[in-house]
Symmetry: C2
Subunit: 360 residues, 2 copies
Amino acid sequence: MATMREVALRAGVSVKTVSRVFNDDPHVLPDTRRRVQEALAGLNYTPNSLARTFRDGRAPVVGVAVPSISDPFFAAIAGGVEEVASRHDMSVVVTSLGEDGDRERELVESLLQRQVGALVMTPVAADQSYLARWAARTPVVVVDRPARGVDVDCFVEDDLGGARAATAHLLARGHRRVAFAGDRESVPTTANRLAGYRAALEEAGLEVDPRLVQLGASDPDGAAAAARRLAALDPAPTALFSSDARTTMVLVPALASRRMAVTGFGDFPMASMLSPALTVVDQDPAALGRRAAERAMRRLDGSVEGAGEHVVLPVRLLERSSCRPPDRLLELFPWTVPAGAERVVWSSAPSGAPTAPARG
Amino acid sequence: MATMREVALRAGVSVKTVSRVFNDDPHVLPDTRRRVQEALAGLNYTPNSLARTFRDGRAPVVGVAVPSISDPFFAAIAGGVEEVASRHDMSVVVTSLGEDGDRERELVESLLQRQVGALVMTPVAADQSYLARWAARTPVVVVDRPARGVDVDCFVEDDLGGARAATAHLLARGHRRVAFAGDRESVPTTANRLAGYRAALEEAGLEVDPRLVQLGASDPDGAAAAARRLAALDPAPTALFSSDARTTMVLVPALASRRMAVTGFGDFPMASMLSPALTVVDQDPAALGRRAAERAMRRLDGSVEGAGEHVVLPVRLLERSSCRPPDRLLELFPWTVPAGAERVVWSSAPSGAPTAPARG
DNA sequence: TTGTACGCGTTATCAG
DNA sequence: CTGATAACGCGTACAA
């Protein structure tokens, strides 16, 4: 923890010379250089990067603010950001905002006050207009959900298209009573996916039965309640579209005893090992994080300027066997994928566009 | 982005007075205070916390260095750290080290140079003696794996005990050919779990057949290879102990066609929904992170001093139906848990000690 | 080649 | 109650 001054003192030179030696400035006599290097080593000098950072006014840091860093989805986003940031010699500060939105502004501004070089965030509050005064100086990119009240770069996934495809997939299999389950409509992704669900029903000429729409189902209690309510319906639903992976993971167990076809938005480990295996809308949160971070870097180095851009990343519907008919009818449906396998049955990518390979 | 100086200029006072007003120092005349507050508001003053941080030499930041922030296990650890850190008005900088260890020192030291207030890390390199000079000034706590070559606080889980219990569980069910699968023996947790596996076999009077031990099985390719090798054995194993959740998640699908009883170290979502459901050693990574962060906070405020403490957190064996006999034999084994349910059959906690409730 | 002076934004010290 | 001044560690500009 020696400072340059101490090293300079010991080497009998000025701090500037120490600085030069340490930063490999060629304009130093070999002899002086050696003396300084000895002092450097002897004192175990370590640069205080806080001072440097302070000096140039911006920290080589990308702030990441998401609802919860413990959620694998957002952890993957953070991982994607970190991957890109580290390539640019920047580190990552993560902050969990919760889903309430009460503390979003406070937490995000405290991040910004730290002079982070860029910010990648998933909005949780109803309004982000407070970001405007920061966005002028610090690149801000939102991911997963659009920002409201401010013009910033935005990377989201095709929630509506994916949800519509997943619902249509169930309808194409003959289901007529298809339920929807998710967390809450105030979350834009959920609202969009609900819209996609409704669109699919309407396109199939079906009425949307509001009793089939179960919100607040993403925690164990809510899932149990949703399962109870769905079971109580007459006629009961024969299929379910689950709006997010968290909901799927708690609701599917709650529905275990009922026989129901399920598609879910968001893949997760072992989804293919369930019986029946889950057909899912495959997202790529790491790519979301990478794209957002890359955009932030381009704003930082000036290679992108102007108004915020809104990018919708394509998703794909990965068919597994959850939707296939009972085994005894299998021979009647030769197009069905075999158990354990999966195939892409739909993609929001423009046809011919390269898509990442399926996971798992 | 106005500075205190600008505010002072506008209010016609000194910067110190602005500082006082902004920090609610009572020694300011009401009149002066109002003038300053108006200037503060008019200029939209925002503190530059980088400057403050620089001034007091330590950043209100906890560094978190783990193999991969995208891995849900380590994301949960990070979440636990963040929870505690935020209660202490500190934020969290995360760094993924990879599993190689080549870059550990470089990445960790760059974190330390940033004058983080504390460091919570999972070692991935063979030696951490480079930490010694830092640990004198910055609290360092390692989690999940012990540090080598340096004396720091350490929070690990009962790898050996959990693995022994999980293996013994299979042996008690009559299995005699029990395989082991994991990532690599250089990872201390894996080495300990392998030791636990061996201990259980030896306690049962069984020889350890090295061909039953499959390392490098935590990625899809390795898992496929391991599955192939296990299948080729004669006699083939009838049961498997998987040493970590990542291995379980790739190896179980690879083994899907074989009928094998499985226990795994590490729970994961939907483990209870597989058929057969997985019996697992239940860890609590979030608690690991919280405990580590709390210890770091206590080192920071001086309420803990002296040599590093080594804490082993208890784990529990959560029995699900993966180990139960085929349905037709169920009536012969009345002690078996019903499908979908789970029960704790073993815990490394001292009996009577409070344990966290099971997840899922 | 080397050194001096200064500034980054904030807070502590100590006079007034 | 208020303000001038120094200090934190480093890098830049400019001299010598």
